[in-house]
């Protein structure tokens, strides 16, 4: 496997360092060839940067891609926004030689060049494609059989499809496949692919952001999800932090939010505390308790064969 740099992004490192922790633990446990490299800046974030200055967006993204291009590495990120933004810039420049020329003329003055040879992947499709369900099954110590998990892809894991090209942008399967590889039931529900709505918090529309959080969380309650599993710090902010804020106002929805790397970490045998899950604002205890309870339940069809073939009154 080609070595890759991890692009942590601003949100994980600023607000959720425990997500970096679980990601590192999981990458290490799978012996994946990852590295930290110097020089990354903000990806840049689309709604804050591209909406204000398109050239600054393109130039900043191209510079970040140039860093991995030059180092001969691929790039993997546990943040959907970062990958989506970087891939959007990359595919835009690859399709527009004139713009690429302009960007490279500027990059040259700081000694860099965008070539766009590095593969840019989000952690979830990366695990699906480069590690694979088979290897995951071999490696894990405990699975999630009996658990109902709701996978939330997060828009930017798969969209825009032309830039990411990693799954069906309107009917993705890979995150679901990973849930199944971990032994869980991957729930299907109407708002599965709907945007989390966190973007509204970034434009001073907090009530609208809460509206979107509530919509999905209520539905998950109704379909009996044991947890919402996601792999995007912005979606995590929306469902963990905003759910906590609603709880404080007396609206308790009680849906534990689990990061993909935490789920994988638990399956690998790490405990919730060392994975940093105690730093969540919405309590994950109900999820962990259910997991304990289902693992004590008899396996499907346990004992029936022995009972049918045992000696008895019929001789």
């Amino acid at each position: 496997m080609k070595e890759f740099a991890v692009f942590w992004g601003c949100t994980i490192q600023t607000r959720f360092p425990f997500l970096e922790k679980s990601t590192r633990m999981v990458l290490k446990e799978f012996n994946l060839p990852f590295r930290d490299i110097d020089g990354f800046t903000c990806c840049p974030e689309k709604s804050l940067v591209n909406n204000v200055d398109h050239a600054a967006f393109t130039l900043t993204g191209a510079r970040n891609v140039a860093l991995v291009d030059e180092a001969g590495l691929d790039l993997v990120s546990p943040c959907t926004g970062c990958v989506s933004n970087l891939a959007t810039v990359k595919s835009g420049l690859k399709a527009d030689p004139r713009e690429k020329g302009e960007v490279n003329a500027l990059l040259k003055e700081v000694g860099r060049e965008f070539t766009g040879i590095a593969n840019l992947s989000h952690l979830v499709p990366f695990f699906h494609d480069a590690v694979g369900a088979h290897k995951i099954r071999q490696k894990i110590k405990r699975n999630f059989a009996g658990m109902k998990l709701a996978a939330h892809y997060g828009c930017h894991m798969i969209r825009p499809g032309y830039a990411l090209r990693n799954d069906d942008p309107l009917d993705p399967k890979k995150f679901d496949n990973l849930m199944t590889a971990l032994g869980a039931e991957s729930l299907q529900f109407p708002t599965k692919l709907m945007c989390c709505g966190q973007g509204l918090d970034r434009v001073d529309q907090h009530d609208n952001a809460l509206y979107f959080a509530r919509l999905k969380l209520k539905e998950l309650k109704a379909v009996g999800a044991d947890a919402l599993v996601l792999c995007c710090p912005s979606c995590f902010l929306q469902f963990d932090n905003n759910q906590f804020l609603m709880e404080k106002e007396g609206e308790k929805l009680g849906v534990p939010i689990i990061y993909f790397t935490e789920l994988m970490g638990l399956a690998l045998g790490f405990n919730a505390e060392e994975l940093g899950m105690t730093a969540h604002r919405v309590d994950v205890t109900s999820f962990l308790q259910k997991w304990e309870a289902v693992s004590k339940m008899p396996l499907n069809g346990a004992g029936i064969d022995e009972a049918m073939n045992s000696a008895g009154a019929l001789g």
Binding site: Q13, G39, A55, L59, S84, E109, Y162, L193, G197, Q205
Partner: protein
């Protein structure tokens, strides 16, 4: 230099198609949000009236419309364009202003939380690229004003000739 633009010909198709409307989460859930109206106004040259509206910031940038769109264009590009114009005129939401200022100053939207890193036993964060980032953005600025001057000069010469 690297400037954004809006493809009006594609938008005209948009105004007649609207396939993305039914899948857009904000269209479905936020009362009064209707990019179809915005697009019609852009085509008719009446975009100004939207610059102060909350609507243009309600696009979630989920890119769902892009995937539904036969032209791969969609609502989002219209909203992005209006946001950019609003930002140029200082009409963007305070949080976007703060985010942009932080980005322009540090090249990031936040610095690594060092005490928490220690607590979780995380390594020192890799060095950022703020210095080079600032240099690059200064170059972009210089290039832009050079272009602007050229434009003004060309205008001046044209005026002299006529």
């Amino acid at each position: 230099m690297l400037e954004a633009n809006l493809n009006i010909r594609l938008l005209e198709q948009c105004s007649r198609c609207e396939a993305c409307y039914s899948i857009c989460p904000s269209c479905r859930h936020l009362p009064g949000y209707d990019p179809r109206e915005v697009i019609k106004d852009i085509i008719a040259g009446r975009f100004e009236k939207w610059l102060r509206s909350k609507s243009i910031w309600q696009c979630l940038e989920c890119h769902y419309c892009l995937e539904m769109c036969y032209q791969h264009y969609g609502f989002e590009n219209a909203m992005t364009a209006l946001r950019a114009v609003a930002a140029k005129r200082g009409l963007h939401p305070p949080q976007v202003k703060r985010g942009w200022d932080m980005f322009a100053k540090t090249g990031r939207l936040g610095e690594p939380a060092l005490p928490a890193r220690k607590k979780f036993g995380l390594p020192e964060p890799a060095a950022g690229g703020a210095e080079e980032f600032k240099k690059l953005h200064a170059l972009l600025k210089a290039k832009r004003s050079e272009k602007e001057n050229e434009k003004q000069r060309a205008k001046g010469q044209k005026a002299e000739r006529t």
